[in-house]
Subunit: 316 residues, 2 copies
Amino acid sequence: MNEFDLIKKYFNFTSKHAVLGVGDDAALIPLNKNELMAISMDTLNIGHHFTGDSDPYYLGWKSLAVNVSDIISMGGQPRYALLSISLKSLDVNWIAKFTKGIKACAKKYNIEIIGGDTNKGSTSISIAITGNVSSKNVLKRSGAIPEDEIWVTNEVGYAALHFNQHSLLPKYKESISNCLKKRSQEEFLKPQPPLEFIQDTKSMINSAIDLSDGLVGDLKHILNSSSVGAKIEINEIPMHKWFMENNQYELAMCGGEDYQILMTVPHKHHNKIQNLLKKHTLKGAMIGKITKDKKIEYSLHGKKIKLSKEGFTHFG
Amino acid sequence: MNEFDLIKKYFNFTSKHAVLGVGDDAALIPLNKNELMAISMDTLNIGHHFTGDSDPYYLGWKSLAVNVSDIISMGGQPRYALLSISLKSLDVNWIAKFTKGIKACAKKYNIEIIGGDTNKGSTSISIAITGNVSSKNVLKRSGAIPEDEIWVTNEVGYAALHFNQHSLLPKYKESISNCLKKRSQEEFLKPQPPLEFIQDTKSMINSAIDLSDGLVGDLKHILNSSSVGAKIEINEIPMHKWFMENNQYELAMCGGEDYQILMTVPHKHHNKIQNLLKKHTLKGAMIGKITKDKKIEYSLHGKKIKLSKEGFTHFG
């Protein structure tokens, strides 16, 4: 049983008043006629999402950024966050750096950290975040329509490369330049979800999801929720040229933690999306189209291919 | 450095828009002219808040109930919750019982569980909760006024007795009846924060806090926040007679996890509070008075005494 089956079977909480409950990036609570509150929570655990050596500054940044990503993918403007942190012991130097990182991220995204608690335990960081969403521009996984263009907001794969570099075959490992190594680490440590771009484009977007599980896994969430299929041109997926040159494009497509947005948009907005990506200096691209047929077709250089890897599952 | 100093020094997040930020049981966000949203988050960790043997049904109940308590102590009506759970491995039987427990608590308090995530890691449960609070009846730690009566909503000490019974001297351990043992376990496993009582009395209450750190520790939070002192009559504190008979009243006063409410109320409401406690079958009582003088005076049978123990601190 994988994570998604588990969530479905036992975490089937039903909700009468929330507009959207368990199953999207964030839940939605009605606030007033024109606004909803998006609310979400994520946890990062030592040994799984980070190690004991992880730089506490970046850990602070990332633990908030992954939550920001959930709000952005609903079309929301992040507002408030609560932090619950568990620590094995009091390391004041670590805590000072961690809080510096989380405050830097809060400042960038204009978020107020308004509460939380500290506990003794295996090191773990849980953050709950709220955001305001205009009722007119709610982005859901379920809004994709056949003929929609599928876009991704920036290059994918850096986090996966950083995380998996040590398990690559020597010939691939050796081909990673120091520059790429550094870039991958940076993207892994300090994800920067594209808030301003999504705020500028949300009225054009039909469906969206944040790339936490990996492009392939998250695309499936959109397709399942929308009861549609997709054709994906692998050559069009924005990724560092190393992946294609070394036949490692599946790593970029299936690895998680990109924290970019995968979205579907009607064709008529193509040029506007293109221009706004440029304006925000994002290397995003259109990577395919939504189809009626409920399956995914991948093409590489015009030839249909099958992927060998599947989307990352936490309990796989 | 204890937990409170730590939180003060590094977790000093400032907030422009929240009505109340870090430092109370819940933060408050403005919703509209008449209402605020109280929002709070708590984490329970294996080895600290529960053990590997803990009954998952009760763990599910308790993990939500401790959050309910935070909302109640602000005068709020709990509404929505998000669950983030970390597990070492997939034990379907455990998960089935856990979700049964959390759903039972959600039903009792009329809460909708609207989201969250599952992660691999040391077993840990984080819950974020929201509640609605009428602007007129916000309860804070800082509202206590000299001459206020200090009330506690029900008996204290059961959870502390359950948790500490094995470290008591043999003569005390042997004096615990099976009935008291069972009752202590029940109260420890299945706390029932007094939502309806606080909803009925909130307009009369000047300040409130939930008893998570223990009566002595939490009283200090009220006194510090309100810049006042208190006189406490230990005989008046509602607790099982075992504590007084065995000179263990400090265990009941300093042990945590009671999840009752400590509140201060003007004298004019004395009878109404008394009657409403009866109506809700709560064994609450008035235990002292707020004083101008910023210190705490404890009396036992009319004689001033000093306590030997201090309030529980997580990193003490």
